[in-house]
Amino acid sequence: MEYKNGLDFIKKLDEYGDVKANWIVKVEEETNPNYGSFPWKREIKEHIRNGVINLDKPPGPTSHEVVAWIKRMLGLNKAGHGGTLEPHV
Protein backbone atom coordinates (compact mmCIF):
# COMPACT_ATOMS: atom_id res chain seq x y z
CA MET A 1 0.00 0.00 0.00
CA GLU A 2 1.37 3.40 -0.96
CA TYR A 3 0.12 6.80 0.10
CA LYS A 4 0.94 10.27 -1.22
CA ASN A 5 1.74 11.64 2.23
CA GLY A 6 0.74 11.44 5.90
CA LEU A 7 -2.53 13.28 5.36
CA ASP A 8 -3.48 10.90 2.56
CA PHE A 9 -2.80 7.98 4.94
CA ILE A 10 -4.97 9.58 7.66
CA LYS A 11 -7.73 10.12 5.09
CA LYS A 12 -7.63 6.40 4.29
CA LEU A 13 -7.73 5.61 8.03
CA ASP A 14 -10.87 7.74 8.34
CA GLU A 15 -12.47 5.75 5.52
CA TYR A 16 -11.49 2.46 7.17
CA GLY A 17 -12.91 3.59 10.51
CA ASP A 18 -16.02 5.09 8.88
CA VAL A 19 -15.24 8.57 10.23
CA LYS A 20 -17.20 11.14 8.25
CA ALA A 21 -16.12 14.30 10.09
CA ASN A 22 -14.56 17.22 8.23
CA TRP A 23 -11.27 18.89 9.07
CA ILE A 24 -10.65 22.25 10.70
CA VAL A 25 -7.24 23.61 9.71
CA LYS A 26 -5.46 25.73 12.35
CA VAL A 27 -2.17 26.32 10.51
CA GLU A 28 -0.49 25.30 7.28
CA GLU A 29 2.47 23.17 8.29
CA GLU A 30 4.95 20.71 6.78
CA THR A 31 6.65 17.79 8.47
CA ASN A 32 10.43 17.35 8.54
CA PRO A 33 11.36 14.12 6.71
CA ASN A 34 14.42 13.68 8.96
CA TYR A 35 12.33 12.65 11.96
CA GLY A 36 9.89 9.80 12.52
CA SER A 37 8.67 7.60 9.68
CA PHE A 38 5.57 7.17 7.58
CA PRO A 39 3.56 4.31 9.12
CA TRP A 40 3.52 2.34 5.84
CA LYS A 41 7.29 2.74 5.36
CA ARG A 42 8.54 1.48 8.71
CA GLU A 43 11.46 -0.93 8.53
CA ILE A 44 9.91 -4.44 8.64
CA LYS A 45 10.88 -5.24 12.23
CA GLU A 46 9.48 -1.85 13.32
CA HIS A 47 6.40 -2.52 11.21
CA ILE A 48 5.80 -5.74 13.15
CA ARG A 49 6.53 -4.12 16.53
CA ASN A 50 3.96 -1.42 15.74
CA GLY A 51 1.48 -3.66 14.03
CA VAL A 52 -2.02 -5.04 14.39
CA ILE A 53 -3.56 -8.09 12.72
CA ASN A 54 -7.24 -8.14 11.85
CA LEU A 55 -7.42 -11.84 12.62
CA ASP A 56 -10.21 -14.23 11.72
CA LYS A 57 -10.14 -16.36 14.86
CA PRO A 58 -10.45 -20.05 14.02
CA PRO A 59 -12.80 -22.34 15.96
CA GLY A 60 -11.10 -24.47 18.60
CA PRO A 61 -8.47 -22.46 20.42
CA THR A 62 -9.42 -19.62 22.76
CA SER A 63 -8.57 -15.99 21.96
CA HIS A 64 -5.81 -16.25 24.55
CA GLU A 65 -4.28 -19.32 22.93
CA VAL A 66 -4.38 -17.70 19.48
CA VAL A 67 -2.52 -14.65 20.79
CA ALA A 68 0.12 -16.90 22.39
CA TRP A 69 0.66 -18.68 19.05
CA ILE A 70 1.08 -15.41 17.16
CA LYS A 71 3.55 -14.19 19.76
CA ARG A 72 5.63 -17.31 19.28
CA MET A 73 5.34 -17.29 15.46
CA LEU A 74 6.72 -13.76 15.30
CA GLY A 75 9.15 -14.08 18.21
CA LEU A 76 7.59 -11.23 20.19
CA ASN A 77 7.62 -10.40 23.90
CA LYS A 78 4.16 -8.91 23.90
CA ALA A 79 0.88 -9.26 22.04
CA GLY A 80 -2.70 -8.66 23.05
CA HIS A 81 -6.19 -8.88 21.63
CA GLY A 82 -8.95 -6.34 21.47
CA GLY A 83 -11.62 -8.11 23.49
CA THR A 84 -12.00 -11.83 23.94
CA LEU A 85 -14.45 -13.91 21.97
CA GLU A 86 -15.12 -16.02 25.08
CA PRO A 87 -17.02 -13.66 27.36
CA HIS A 88 -17.68 -16.38 29.95
CA VAL A 89 -14.05 -17.11 30.72
Binding site: I24, I44, H47, V52, I53, L55, K57, K78, P87
Partner: protein, 263 residues
Protein backbone atom coordinates in the same frame (compact mmCIF):
# COMPACT_ATOMS: atom_id res chain seq x y z
CA UNK B 1 -10.52 -23.63 28.70
CA UNK B 2 -13.42 -25.21 30.63
CA UNK B 3 -16.60 -23.23 30.18
CA UNK B 4 -15.40 -20.87 27.50
CA UNK B 5 -16.74 -20.59 23.99
CA UNK B 6 -13.66 -21.46 21.95
CA UNK B 7 -15.85 -22.43 19.00
CA UNK B 8 -16.69 -18.80 18.45
CA UNK B 9 -14.98 -17.40 15.33
CA UNK B 10 -14.48 -14.07 13.63
CA UNK B 11 -12.90 -10.69 14.03
CA UNK B 12 -10.22 -10.70 16.74
CA UNK B 13 -7.76 -7.83 16.36
CA UNK B 14 -4.34 -8.81 17.69
CA UNK B 15 -1.90 -6.04 18.61
CA UNK B 16 1.84 -6.67 18.54
CA UNK B 17 4.41 -5.27 21.02
CA UNK B 18 4.09 -1.48 21.07
CA UNK B 19 0.56 -1.60 19.65
CA UNK B 20 -0.67 -3.41 22.79
CA UNK B 21 -0.66 0.02 24.47
CA UNK B 22 -3.76 1.08 22.57
CA UNK B 23 -5.61 -2.14 21.74
CA UNK B 24 -7.58 -1.85 25.00
CA UNK B 25 -9.35 1.01 23.31
CA UNK B 26 -11.18 -1.49 21.09
CA UNK B 27 -12.47 -3.60 23.99
CA UNK B 28 -15.25 -1.14 24.80
CA UNK B 29 -16.21 -0.34 21.21
CA UNK B 30 -19.37 -1.46 19.39
CA UNK B 31 -19.67 -5.05 18.17
CA UNK B 32 -21.51 -6.91 15.45
CA UNK B 33 -22.21 -10.64 15.50
CA UNK B 34 -23.83 -13.17 13.23
CA UNK B 35 -25.42 -15.93 15.24
CA UNK B 36 -27.51 -19.04 14.79
CA UNK B 37 -30.33 -19.31 17.29
CA UNK B 38 -32.11 -22.62 17.67
CA UNK B 39 -35.76 -22.47 18.69
CA UNK B 40 -37.14 -25.33 20.74
CA UNK B 41 -40.50 -25.16 18.98
CA UNK B 42 -41.59 -23.52 15.77
CA UNK B 43 -43.07 -20.02 15.80
CA UNK B 44 -44.28 -17.91 12.89
CA UNK B 45 -41.81 -15.60 11.22
CA UNK B 46 -44.05 -12.63 12.05
CA UNK B 47 -44.02 -13.46 15.73
CA UNK B 48 -40.26 -13.95 15.71
CA UNK B 49 -39.71 -10.61 13.97
CA UNK B 50 -42.00 -8.87 16.44
CA UNK B 51 -40.16 -10.28 19.45
CA UNK B 52 -36.72 -9.56 17.96
CA UNK B 53 -37.78 -5.94 17.50
CA UNK B 54 -38.66 -5.73 21.18
CA UNK B 55 -35.01 -6.47 21.97
CA UNK B 56 -33.72 -3.52 19.94
CA UNK B 57 -32.83 -0.60 22.20
CA UNK B 58 -31.96 -0.84 25.87
CA UNK B 59 -32.09 -4.30 27.39
CA UNK B 60 -31.29 -5.65 30.83
CA UNK B 61 -28.84 -8.51 31.18
CA UNK B 62 -27.57 -10.36 34.20
CA UNK B 63 -24.16 -11.87 33.39
CA UNK B 64 -24.25 -15.70 33.20
CA UNK B 65 -23.45 -17.77 36.31
CA UNK B 66 -19.97 -18.59 35.13
CA UNK B 67 -18.77 -15.20 34.06
CA UNK B 68 -15.72 -13.05 34.65
CA UNK B 69 -17.61 -9.97 35.81
CA UNK B 70 -19.77 -9.09 38.81
CA UNK B 71 -23.23 -10.55 38.46
CA UNK B 72 -25.31 -7.43 38.71
CA UNK B 73 -27.93 -6.52 36.15
CA UNK B 74 -26.44 -4.38 33.42
CA UNK B 75 -28.13 -2.20 30.84
CA UNK B 76 -26.89 -2.84 27.32
CA UNK B 77 -27.94 -1.31 24.02
CA UNK B 78 -28.84 -3.45 21.02
CA UNK B 79 -28.51 -1.23 17.95
CA UNK B 80 -30.14 -3.56 15.46
CA UNK B 81 -31.20 -7.16 14.91
CA UNK B 82 -31.65 -8.40 11.35
CA UNK B 83 -33.29 -11.72 10.65
CA UNK B 84 -31.16 -13.01 7.75
CA UNK B 85 -32.71 -16.45 7.41
CA UNK B 86 -35.38 -18.45 9.19
CA UNK B 87 -36.22 -22.10 8.76
CA UNK B 88 -38.74 -22.43 11.56
CA UNK B 89 -36.16 -24.11 13.75
CA UNK B 90 -33.03 -22.07 13.15
CA UNK B 91 -32.83 -18.30 12.90
CA UNK B 92 -29.76 -16.64 11.42
CA UNK B 93 -29.37 -13.22 13.03
CA UNK B 94 -27.12 -10.23 12.53
CA UNK B 95 -26.86 -8.23 15.74
CA UNK B 96 -25.22 -4.87 16.37
CA UNK B 97 -24.65 -4.18 20.05
CA UNK B 98 -22.70 -2.51 22.78
CA UNK B 99 -19.51 -4.15 24.08
CA UNK B 100 -20.17 -6.71 26.81
CA UNK B 101 -23.60 -7.84 25.59
CA UNK B 102 -24.00 -11.59 26.01
CA UNK B 103 -25.28 -13.19 22.80
CA UNK B 104 -25.97 -16.54 24.46
CA UNK B 105 -28.09 -14.76 27.03
CA UNK B 106 -29.86 -12.74 24.35
CA UNK B 107 -30.85 -15.92 22.48
CA UNK B 108 -32.08 -17.48 25.71
CA UNK B 109 -34.14 -14.39 26.58
CA UNK B 110 -35.66 -14.19 23.07
CA UNK B 111 -36.72 -17.82 23.54
CA UNK B 112 -38.34 -16.97 26.87
CA UNK B 113 -40.35 -14.11 25.42
CA UNK B 114 -41.37 -16.28 22.46
CA UNK B 115 -42.55 -18.82 25.02
CA UNK B 116 -40.93 -21.77 23.26
CA UNK B 117 -37.34 -21.53 24.50
CA UNK B 118 -34.22 -21.02 22.40
CA UNK B 119 -30.48 -21.23 22.63
CA UNK B 120 -27.44 -20.08 20.71
CA UNK B 121 -25.92 -22.65 18.37
CA UNK B 122 -23.13 -20.75 16.67
CA UNK B 123 -21.53 -17.35 16.94
CA UNK B 124 -19.26 -15.33 14.71
CA UNK B 125 -18.08 -11.78 15.43
CA UNK B 126 -18.23 -9.67 12.28
CA UNK B 127 -17.10 -6.35 13.72
CA UNK B 128 -15.33 -4.86 16.72
CA UNK B 129 -14.64 -1.14 16.63
CA UNK B 130 -13.21 -0.36 13.18
CA UNK B 131 -12.24 -3.98 12.40
CA UNK B 132 -14.68 -5.80 10.14
CA UNK B 133 -14.93 -8.72 7.76
CA UNK B 134 -13.19 -7.02 4.85
CA UNK B 135 -10.04 -7.40 2.74
CA UNK B 136 -7.85 -6.80 5.82
CA UNK B 137 -9.22 -9.86 7.69
CA UNK B 138 -6.66 -12.69 7.66
CA UNK B 139 -6.68 -16.30 8.82
CA UNK B 140 -3.98 -18.01 10.88
CA UNK B 141 -2.94 -19.85 7.70
CA UNK B 142 -2.49 -16.59 5.78
CA UNK B 143 -0.43 -15.15 8.63
CA UNK B 144 1.67 -18.27 8.84
CA UNK B 145 2.33 -18.20 5.05
CA UNK B 146 3.31 -14.52 5.16
CA UNK B 147 5.78 -15.16 7.99
CA UNK B 148 7.18 -18.17 6.14
CA UNK B 149 7.65 -16.20 2.93
CA UNK B 150 9.42 -13.39 4.78
CA UNK B 151 11.69 -15.75 6.70
CA UNK B 152 12.53 -17.98 3.74
CA UNK B 153 12.89 -15.50 0.85
CA UNK B 154 13.19 -12.16 2.63
CA UNK B 155 10.13 -10.87 0.76
CA UNK B 156 8.19 -8.49 3.04
CA UNK B 157 5.31 -7.87 0.66
CA UNK B 158 2.86 -10.43 2.01
CA UNK B 159 3.73 -9.73 5.64
CA UNK B 160 3.13 -6.00 5.14
CA UNK B 161 -0.33 -6.81 3.77
CA UNK B 162 -1.07 -9.18 6.64
CA UNK B 163 0.08 -6.93 9.48
CA UNK B 164 -1.47 -3.46 9.46
CA UNK B 165 0.15 -0.36 10.98
CA UNK B 166 -1.17 0.09 14.54
CA UNK B 167 -2.76 3.38 13.46
CA UNK B 168 -5.68 1.26 12.21
CA UNK B 169 -6.60 0.68 15.86
CA UNK B 170 -7.59 4.34 16.20
CA UNK B 171 -9.05 4.69 12.71
CA UNK B 172 -12.61 5.07 14.04
CA UNK B 173 -11.66 7.83 16.51
CA UNK B 174 -11.64 11.59 16.13
CA UNK B 175 -8.14 12.79 15.29
CA UNK B 176 -5.99 15.80 15.97
CA UNK B 177 -2.85 16.32 13.87
CA UNK B 178 -0.02 18.01 15.70
CA UNK B 179 3.11 19.94 14.67
CA UNK B 180 6.50 18.24 14.60
CA UNK B 181 7.58 20.65 17.34
CA UNK B 182 4.82 19.41 19.70
CA UNK B 183 5.45 15.68 19.22
CA UNK B 184 8.26 15.11 21.70
CA UNK B 185 6.56 16.89 24.58
CA UNK B 186 3.47 14.69 24.05
CA UNK B 187 5.76 11.64 23.85
CA UNK B 188 7.01 12.68 27.30
CA UNK B 189 3.43 12.75 28.56
CA UNK B 190 2.70 16.49 28.41
CA UNK B 191 -0.78 17.75 27.52
CA UNK B 192 -1.46 19.27 24.10
CA UNK B 193 -1.78 23.04 23.86
CA UNK B 194 -3.69 24.76 21.06
CA UNK B 195 -0.57 26.21 19.32
CA UNK B 196 0.67 22.64 18.76
CA UNK B 197 -2.34 21.75 16.60
CA UNK B 198 -2.21 21.70 12.80
CA UNK B 199 -5.69 20.38 12.07
CA UNK B 200 -8.52 18.47 13.74
CA UNK B 201 -11.82 16.74 13.08
CA UNK B 202 -14.81 19.04 13.49
CA UNK B 203 -16.93 16.67 15.61
CA UNK B 204 -14.97 16.60 18.88
CA UNK B 205 -16.90 17.31 22.08
CA UNK B 206 -15.39 18.05 25.47
CA UNK B 207 -14.48 14.79 27.18
CA UNK B 208 -14.20 12.78 23.94
CA UNK B 209 -11.28 10.44 23.47
CA UNK B 210 -9.09 11.58 20.58
CA UNK B 211 -6.04 10.25 18.72
CA UNK B 212 -3.05 12.59 18.45
CA UNK B 213 -1.15 12.05 15.21
CA UNK B 214 1.80 13.51 13.34
CA UNK B 215 1.64 14.97 9.85
CA UNK B 216 3.27 11.71 8.71
CA UNK B 217 0.26 9.82 10.06
CA UNK B 218 2.03 8.31 13.08
CA UNK B 219 0.03 7.75 16.25
CA UNK B 220 1.65 9.67 19.12
CA UNK B 221 -0.83 9.29 21.96
CA UNK B 222 -4.46 9.05 22.99
CA UNK B 223 -5.98 11.92 24.89
CA UNK B 224 -9.14 13.37 26.34
CA UNK B 225 -10.41 16.58 24.76
CA UNK B 226 -10.68 19.47 27.20
CA UNK B 227 -12.12 21.70 24.47
CA UNK B 228 -14.58 21.02 21.64
CA UNK B 229 -13.53 21.30 17.99
CA UNK B 230 -15.35 24.62 17.81
CA UNK B 231 -13.52 26.00 20.85
CA UNK B 232 -10.13 24.83 19.53
CA UNK B 233 -10.95 26.46 16.21
CA UNK B 234 -11.67 29.78 17.89
CA UNK B 235 -8.84 30.15 20.44
CA UNK B 236 -5.09 30.48 20.03
CA UNK B 237 -3.87 29.24 23.41
CA UNK B 238 -4.77 26.96 26.31
CA UNK B 239 -4.66 23.20 26.91
CA UNK B 240 -6.82 21.43 24.32
CA UNK B 241 -6.16 17.78 25.14
CA UNK B 242 -5.13 15.91 28.26
CA UNK B 243 -2.73 13.13 27.27
CA UNK B 244 -3.85 9.77 28.66
CA UNK B 245 -1.86 7.10 26.82
CA UNK B 246 1.47 7.69 25.09
CA UNK B 247 2.41 5.34 22.26
CA UNK B 248 5.43 6.97 20.64
CA UNK B 249 8.67 6.71 22.59
CA UNK B 250 10.43 9.99 23.45
CA UNK B 251 13.30 11.11 21.23
CA UNK B 252 11.78 10.24 17.83
CA UNK B 253 11.16 13.92 17.11
CA UNK B 254 13.50 16.71 18.27
CA UNK B 255 12.98 18.29 21.64
CA UNK B 256 11.85 21.85 21.05
CA UNK B 257 9.81 22.57 24.10
CA UNK B 258 12.27 23.11 26.92
CA UNK B 259 14.12 25.99 25.33
CA UNK B 260 11.08 28.21 25.17
CA UNK B 261 11.68 29.87 28.55
CA UNK B 262 15.25 30.79 27.60
CA UNK B 263 14.32 33.22 24.84
Amino acid sequence: MGWGDPKVTGVLPVALENATKVIGNIVHSGKEYVCVMQLHSEVSEDKLRKVLNEFVGKIYQKPPLRSSVKRTIRVKTIYYIELLEYTGKYALLRIGCEAGTYMRKLCHDVGEVLGVGAHMRELRRTRTGPFKEDETLVTMQQLSEAIYEWRSSGSEKLLRKTILPMEYIVSHMSKIIIRDSAVDSIAHGADLAVPGIVMLHDNIRRGDKVALMTLKGELVALGKALMSSKEIGEVSKGIAVKTIRVVMPPGVYPKKWKTRSKQ
